[in-house]
């Protein structure tokens, strides 16, 4: 499968500057793309557009040649958010959060180091790192084909980071899931990605649009 962004432009409102202008990107399944850019470049916005949370002003997101907006029901492109505490319902127990995913396998839950005792708890009773594992597990449902990881491990210590990324690399390889890894950490991107994109030179396009 192929996830493709074709000449997308985006801004949050008419008055604001264009965050993305005629940007194109292709990710193949089985590929792990590392994306790095300074703060405020619209990395999260890009993930939101690719996962269908935001509509681009122009251009189109294609999954296997078909516009992503035409996929009904479960979206094969799943995004993992930078702040897990906003991504789970504070009034539901963690087992319900897992049940929200698409038949998440026990193997995935174990692999991410989720302990049985955590499942009966409410989100407020878990740390950010523990919550993030649930969010990753939820996004790794049966029908997931592409995974967008938006700085998902910034709140974790190095050992946990490496444990989670080892698992994610293994899992995506096994199931042929395409991965977009957004991070500031050079070392992490070096280790995880099979291809790198750096957006340093996007600046030249972005600033004129702002003027």
């Amino acid at each position: 499968m192929k996830l493709e962004a074709r000449k997308i432009s985006f801004r949050y409102s008419e008055k604001e500057r264009e965050i993305w202008k005629d940007f194109s990107l292709e990710i193949d399944s089985g590929e792990r793309v590392g994306l790095s850019a300074p703060s405020g470049f619209g990395k999260t916005t890009l993930c939101k557009i690719l996962a269908g949370y935001e509509k681009p002003e122009s251009g189109v997101i294609l999954l296997d040649g078909k516009p992503l907006s035409e996929y009904r029901g479960y979206c094969p492109v799943q995004m993992i958010w930078q702040h897990p505490e906003y991504a789970v319902n504070p009034r539901l127990r963690m087992e319900e959060v897992l049940r929200d995913g698409d038949q998440v396998e026990e193997r995935v839950i174990r692999g991410l180091g989720i302990e049985d005792g955590w499942r009966k708890r409410f989100p407020a009773e878990l740390s950010g790192g523990e919550l993030q594992r649930f969010c990753i597990a939820r996004a790794l449902g049966r029908r997931t084909k592409f995974l967008l990881a938006d700085e998902i491990s910034t709140m974790l210590d190095l050992i946990t980071q490496s444990q989670i990324w080892e698992f994610l690399i293994h899992e995506t390889k096994e199931r042929g899931i395409g991965l977009l890894c957004v991070s500031h950490s050079e070392g992490l991107l070096e280790r995880v990605s099979t291809r790198r994109i750096s957006l340093e030179n996007k600046e030249q396009e972005a600033i004129p649009a702002d003027m």
Binding site: C75, W81, N89, R91, L92, D100
Partner: protein, 277 residues
């Protein structure tokens, strides 16, 4: 140690809740059953100060003030429950409608809320109650049509906020139907708000019923309503018959405070932050 203390707090809340419900239900039933005795006049026992046989004393017609107070309160509680339930339902429906049915509906409902909030409560209450022919229906109609606004605002804001929250949008991407999201993700947020709002409407409803009855626009004077009792006792207060107003007034305050406490308990019990206490 800490765990035990926390558990006690939750138990305490539950006990308070049970006591409040028991008291309110007790007064309501007792008042309905003892309605006859509240109307009995007996001139051989008029103007008695509070004693063991007449705890709240008797009035100028020899009526037992305890029976009159309890019956009055039971009428107040029934009016409070009916009016609060009706206005909570109105608030729920209009609040959800404003948040989900698009901009035009939202504008109309918000305008309606502002309109009703803009008119002084008691004035609107008197107008509606008077137009509906006073009496029980007039009061219930008046109270329920004026008290839904703030709860409707709360519900509208809550639904609007929920709709845009990351976890609801994620649930959409996980392929869940609108109905399922509403049930699983939104209701757990709305029900506590709604219940607490509903319970906190009771004291308002009761006090407003008492006040418009006191002013003579509510229940008719033959009924032993708290408002009627209080306004009649005003005439006798200057002659030193303090018990005529004191005990019914105290009981009214107690009832209102219990309802308030009930709402507070409910809020605590449904808050996930205190689930393990």
């Amino acid at each position: 140690m800490k765990k035990r203390l926390c558990w006690n707090q939750r138990t305490k809340t539950l006990i308070l809740l049970a006591v409040a419900v028991f008291y309110l239900a007790g007064v309501a039933v007792w008042g309905l059953v003892g309605r006859e005795s509240a109307l009995v006049t007996d001139f051989s026992r008029k103007n008695l100060t509070p004693s063991l046989s007449y705890l709240f004393g008797t009035d100028w017609l020899g009526r037992d003030m305890l029976a009159r107070t309890v019956t009055g309160l039971s009428i107040s509680i029934i009016i409070g429950v009916c009016a609060a339930a009706v206005s909570a339902v109105i608030a729920g429906l209009l609040g959800v409608a404003a948040a989900t049915l698009g901009k035009k509906v939202d504008a109309v409902i918000t305008w309606l809320i502002d309109l009703i909030m803009g008119i002084p409560h008691i004035l609107l209450l008197i107008l509606i109650s008077f137009a509906a022919g006073k009496g029980l229906t007039g009061v219930i109609l008046g109270v329920s049509l004026t008290h839904w606004t703030s709860l409707a605002r709360v519900i509208r804001a809550e639904v609007l906020q929920l709709k845009e929250s990351t976890y609801i949008r994620t649930a959409e991407k996980l392929g869940h139907s609108k109905w399922r999201i509403a049930k699983k993700h939104m209701l757990p947020h709305l029900i506590p708000q709604f219940l607490v709002g509903l319970v906190l409407l009771f004291p308002h409803a009761i006090l407003h019923e008492a006040s418009i009855t006191f002013l003579g626009f509510g229940l008719s004077t033959e009924q032993p309503a708290i408002g009627v009792i209080l306004s009649e006792s005003m005439k006798y207060l200057v002659t030193g018959k303090w018990w005529l107003a004191l005990f019914p007034g105290l009981m009214l305050v107690l009832t209102v405070m219990l309802f308030d406490l009930l709402g507070e308990c409910l809020r605590k019990l449904t808050d996930p932050g205190s689930v393990h206490r």
